[in-house]
């Protein structure tokens, strides 16, 4: 390269101070220098940094800066790659390093290149861009600059040698002018070749980085011996000449894709096989894991970190480089893209169902109509029956009835359907003495229950259903139905049967199991609320029925007053359960204090309100029995709130709202009046809103309490006064019902009946997603993969928010499912690797880390090396795969004898391991060579793979005595 003449030309220009005629080339150099200065790479007295510790080249972060640079009209980008210096608190005392050893001049780049601790660092390719940069691997550099054609350039790459030379000489001039010691590379040829040529200069040394790619490997380059010759001849060293021997590092890679008996996969539960014997285990659990082998390839890297060329032999005839005898073993695992995983398949299928446009009728057709008239059991029938029938008997009959009617025309066969229904409604199963799959008792009082590890990881913010409750089970079973029992049809059938069962239970007054008692829990999903609502309705009606039965019984036994007999069943009225004690108490009261006339007798008393007495009489103040509150599900509350909101926020709206809200106040006042004949508003207020009754400081003369209503209660025409004035004394049980249980129950049943398959799937989506996340956590916890649990937490909090805001867009849920699938795949990969490499229970922390690293890291050191348990396991896997290959070869040989010799030779080559898929060598030497007498560092990195051979060399020379 004639850089010296160029230098002079440039100098002339500088002296003239006239840049108007500067060539494109000069402009390019000027820009290059400008960038180098900008990046502050021109300091020639930079201290020598400490050598990197093993692996730091790949474990530390890389940063890159990028600028554009033009050569004529060709745009290049120039990028500086450097390893961050996030040191562990150590000060880079580096001056010493250089001073100690004055004998040899040292360049940072060349020192890094000669250091062996970061050989063969793994490189990850992502969209053809490697990380870290492939040059870091080829020369173990921690800082370098790359100039490559910018992505917007007209030509995508430079191929002409002349252009390459111009670029290299420009670089040479620029780095000399700036005293930049950082190596600068240009990328030539097609980008996929990763072909780089470069230059590094300073302190009297020039190092040139060269590269050779050959598709067909020359025979003598296939082994170390030949490569040593190539290296030495390039250096001008005669083989056998004195000087330092070449130091060699080697890495051989062996691929394993044939798993034979080490293959791993999981099957979805097969209900066909389990027919009739389906247990809770299968029905109540979502399947998990990869259904196909998720690991596609294991690559073993046998590494010899450094040995002298004389120590080991690797030639065509003989090789010391046997993998079993390597110093270190590393392992890489390649994964199948998007492996088939059971849990996520289930989820995606349910999402698909959510999008379905089909109607129930399309799937079930005649089957539905045939059965559309459920057996009508009127409440009257229940009443006249002497005894409430045994629950199990009734349900058993119901199921039996349906079985007879439907024969096997439903998409799910009866053999399958019955266990499912018994699983959902375990109380119906009276075929066995003990209930097979009872609901956990904790459903009623989730508060008292300590969440387990997995549950607390996910948190309880899900708008879901009680864990292992009815809705939860239904969701899981629905997923099974979609996946294994016949797809959407089966789902439609299951939903239909579920609705039928609910109607049956309502008609027969049998409570629904597996939901928490009490009012609809607004923290739960809508379906769970609806079922709780239905239970409230069933409960209220049963209470009414029982009260009626009890009173009928009572009237039969004793001579009761006419009033009790009037208590006939009428849906229009609210009925309170009144125990016999109440009745008795009431009668004693009546007997002892016959002050009330027949028309004015107190009714519906609950208990005395302390020792308070009515203001205008000597009677005690009684708290009345009042109507119970009205249960509501969230959609109803929303409707109500909407109505209230629509009244507007002005005074009129406020008044209308007050009227709407007054129904319960009126009911309470009427009950109060009935229980306390002769009471005044003041009495009512003392019970109802005691702070609005202001007692006088001093009691009246007769010791009675005197007081007044608060001023706000005395505002003329206020709703309290008005309601009091219109209210009649009516006990709660004779009032209009505030809660029409029949209507509400019908509303719930109707809503569920009318659900199309997609509605049903949406109703079950949250519990199902909750269940699958829980399953995911349960599987993830024992693996202890760093970051996995927090990733799952992140997924679940995202899911939680979606359900909270009632997101309608199914795609948003699909995103969540994709993340679930990703996590599931990782767990599947770990499981598969564990099965292959270290089966058994009770993995040590080190082992767990090894397995999870294998999934996420490109290359992991095998703990203990070739002689460890894992090492032995790997050997036997290779051996088994080898046996299979040999066996098939033998089979081939029978037909063609010609192949015999060839297969024999391959059989000889290592009893266990196949031929390496890739061989890498790094040859290093510090030697004086060619014309120089200075000892200079040189390096050659060789990669021998299926795509040929690639050699990257760095050869340095002395510029002072050239």
């Amino acid at each position: 390269m004639s850089s010296s003449t160029i230098q002079e030309d440039l100098d002339e220009d500088v002296y003239h101070c006239d840049f108007t005629t500067a060539s494109e080339w000069e402009i390019f150099i000027a820009r290059l220098e400008e960038i180098i200065h900008e990046w502050k790479l021109s300091s020639s007295n930079a201290n020598l940094l400490k050598p990197l510790k093993p692996g730091q080249l790949s474990s530390r972060n890389w940063v890159s800066k990028c600028e554009n640079i033009m050569f004529a009209d060709f745009q290049f980008s120039i990028t500086r790659y450097s390893l961050t210096n996030e040191d562990d608190g150590e000060t880079p005392e580096s001056e010493n390093l250089r001073d100690n050893d004055d004998e040899n001049v040292k360049l940072q780049a060349l020192e890094d290149m000669m250091h062996i601790d970061n050989d063969f660092i793994p490189v990850v390719y992502n969209d053809n861009i490697s990380h870290p940069h492939v040059l870091a691997r080829l020369y173990s550099l921690r800082e370098f600059i790359v100039i490559n054609p910018s992505s917007s350039a007209v030509a995508k790459y430079i191929a002409e040698e002349s252009k390459i030379k111009i670029l290299l000489s420009s670089i040479c001039i620029a780095i000399n002018n700036c005293s930049c010691e950082v190596p600068v590379f240009i990328q030539a040829l097609e980008p996929w070749r990763n072909f780089h040529l470069g230059l590094c200069e300073g302190r009297g040394i020039r190092a040139e980085f060269e590269m050779v790619h050959l598709k067909k490997v020359p025979q003598d380059c296939k082994h170390l011996t030949g490569l040593l010759n190539v290296f030495k001849s390039r250096l001008g060293m005669m083989s056998g000449s004195e000087g330092e021997p070449v130091r060699v590092s080697a890495k051989f890679s062996y691929s394993l894709t044939d798993w034979t008996s080490y293959s791993w996969s999981q099957e979805p539960p097969n209900f066909e096989l389990l027919q009739g014997e389906i247990g809770v285990e299968e029905l109540g659990t979502l399947p998990f894991g990869a259904s196909m082998e998720p690991v596609s390839e294991l690559i073993l890297h046998a590494v010899w970190p450094e040995f002298l060329e004389t120590a080991l032999v690797d030639s065509q005839a003989y090789s010391d480089l046997e993998p079993q005898r390597a110093t270190n073993w590393f392992l890489s695992a390649r994964m199948v893209d998007e492996p088939a995983c059971l849990l996520s398949e289930y989820m995606f299928e349910i999402l698909e169902l959510c999008r379905s446009q089909h109607s129930m009728h399309e799937f079930l057709g005649d089957f539905m109509q045939q059965d559309s008239g459920p057996p009508l059991t009127t409440p009257f029938d229940v009443l006249t029956e002497s005894k409430v029938p045994n629950i199990g008997k009734v349900i058993g009959q119901s199921f039996g009835h349906s079985r007879r009617d439907r024969s096997s025309r439903g998409p799910i066969s009866n053999d399958m359907l019955m266990p499912i229904l018994y699983f959902l409604f375990p109380d119906a199963d009276n075929s066995q003495d003990s209930v097979r799959s009872p609901y956990p008792e904790t459903i009623g009082n989730a508060m008292n229950r300590e969440p387990n590890m997995a549950e607390s990881t996910i948190g309880n913010g899900f708008k879901s259903a009680p864990i292992d409750g009815l809705v939860w089970r239904l969701a899981v079973v629905m997923a099974h139905a979609v996946h294994t029992l016949g797809g959407t049809k089966a789902a439609a059938h299951l939903w239909y049967e579920f609705c039928q069962e609910l109607r049956f239970r309502w008609n027969n007054g049998i409570k629904i199991p597996g939901v928490a008692p009490g009012f609809p829990d607004l923290k739960m999903c809508l379906l769970n609320q609806k079922l709780q609502m239905l239970n409230c309705c069933i409960e209220r009606r049963n209470a009414v029925t029982n009260a009626a039965l009890a009173s009928a019984k009572a009237s039969g036994n004793s001579d009761e007053s006419e009033e009790e007999e009037e208590e006939e069943e009428d849906d229009e009225f609210y009925d309170c359960a009144m125990s016999e004690e109440d009745v008795a108490k009431q009668t004693t009261v009546e007997k002892s204090k016959p002050i009330h006339s027949l028309w004015n007798r107190p009714v519906g008393r609950l208990c005395r309100h302390g020792n308070l007495k009515l203001l205008n009489s000597d009677e005690f103040l009684y708290i009345p029995i009042t109507q119970e509150a009205t249960p509501k599900t969230e959609d109803q509350i929303d409707e109500d709130a909407e109505v209230l909101l629509n009244l507007g926020s002005d005074i009129q709206g406020s008044e209308l709202r007050t009227q709407l809200m007054s129904a319960s106040l009126l009911s309470d006042i009427e009950s109060f009046k009935a229980a306390n004949p002769g009471a005044v508003l003041e009495d009512f207020i003392r019970w109802y809103s005691p702070r609005d009754w202001i007692e006088d400081k001093e009691p009246g003369e007769d010791g009675s309490v005197k007081g007044t209503l608060s001023s706000r209660m005395q505002i003329p025409g206020n709703p309290w006064l008005e309601i009091w004035s219109v209210a009649k004394p009516v006990p709660a049980r004779r009032q209009n019902r505030l809660f029409d249980y029949t209507r509400e129950a019908e509303k719930v049943l109707h809503r569920l009946d009318l659900s199309q398959p997609s509605d049903a799937a949406r109703l079950l989506l949250c519990p199902l997603l909750h269940a699958s996340l829980l399953r995911l956590v349960q599987q993830a916890l024992p693996i202890e993969m760093p970051g996995l649990i927090s990733a799952i937490k992140h997924i679940s909090s995202k899911a939680e928010t979606l359900f909270r805001v009632c997101e309608k867009d199914i795609n948003r849920y699909a995103e969540i499912c994709k993340e679930v699938a990703h996590a599931e795949a990782m767990i599947g990969q770990v499981a598969s690797l564990e099965h292959k490499l270290c089966p058994g229970t009770g993995q040590t922390w080190q082992m767990k880390k090894f397995l999870s690293d294998l999934v996420v890291e490109p290359e992991v050191a095998v703990p203990g090396g070739p002689h460890s348990d894992i090492g032995k396991r790997i050997k036997s896997m290779f051996a088994e795969a080898r046996r299979v290959v040999l066996m098939t070869n033998e089979a081939d040989q029978d037909s063609s004898d010609g192949e015999k010799s060839k297969s024999k030779s391959s059989g000889l080559h290592g009893a266990i391991f196949p031929k390496p898929t890739e061989k890498e060598f790094i040859l290093r030497v510090r030697a004086a060579c060619q014309n120089s007498f200075l000892v200079m560092p040189h390096r050659l990195t060789v990669q021998l793979g299926p795509n040929g051979i690639s050699m990257a060399g760095c050869f340095s020379q002395d510029t002072t005595f050239q």
Partner: protein
């Protein structure tokens, strides 16, 4: 200033009867005070748009009846509220001790786990104080709520109470935004973080 509404927030006012819940609301929304405020039956609500750091926020404030008997009715309306103001009367010790019950009520019925709570000691214009400011503060600290004292009569602390609460809600991630509002929120936070600190200090809010 941006006229479009950033978000609509639902805020509850709860507490014993007669502590001045409706009066606080009346003062905040209409800037009026009526010594004889009609007794709320069930629930009522008022709306107000407020401007916070250049953003308009619509508040739907639900006022509830404090009477024991209405407690079966009112919690239905707790649903999806982002904030709750728990009011007590500084001249009535009992209304303060009952706050515990109201907190439990909120815990049970609110559907958002991270609902922002503010304890407000009302009627500080009155002379016969029974609950000291310190007691109120301690209670708020123990239950990790915001705290302020106010008087609906003299307007002291009323505006601040609501603003403080809204500010906190806006700062609570995941409590109020919907998807399309996420980007708006990022912009909002960037502009308001410093001011938030300040106003929190000057209002004597405690968290």
């Amino acid at each position: 200033m941006d006229d479009s509404v950033l978000t609509t927030l639902k805020i509850l006012i709860i507490g014993e009867s007669g502590v001045g819940k409706s009066s606080l609301l009346m003062r905040f929304v209409d800037n009026e005070f009526n010594a004889d405020q009609a007794i709320t039956i069930g629930v009522d609500f008022k709306c107000k748009k407020i401007s916070l750091n250049g953003n308009t926020i619509k508040l739907a404030i639900w006022d509830t009846a404090g009477q024991e008997r209405f407690r079966t009715l009112t919690p239905s309306y707790y649903r999806d509220a982002q904030g709750a103001i728990l009011v007590y009367d500084v001249t009535k010790k009992e209304s303060f001790t009952k706050l515990e019950t109201w907190l439990n009520e909120l815990e049970t019925y609110s559907t958002k786990s991270n609902i922002v709570k503010m304890v407000v000691g009302n009627k500080i214009d009155m002379e016969n104080r029974e609950v000291s400011r310190d007691d109120g503060m301690k209670f708020a600290r123990r239950h990790a709520t915001l705290f302020i004292e106010s008087s609906a009569k003299t307007t002291d602390g009323v505006q601040c109470a609501f603003e403080e609460l809204v500010q906190k809600i806006i700062q609570t991630p995941g409590l109020w935004e919907t998807q399309e509002e996420t980007s708006k929120r990022a912009a909002f936070r960037a502009s308001s973080d410093d001011d938030a600190q300040q106003s929190s200090y000057c209002c004597g809010g405690y968290f």
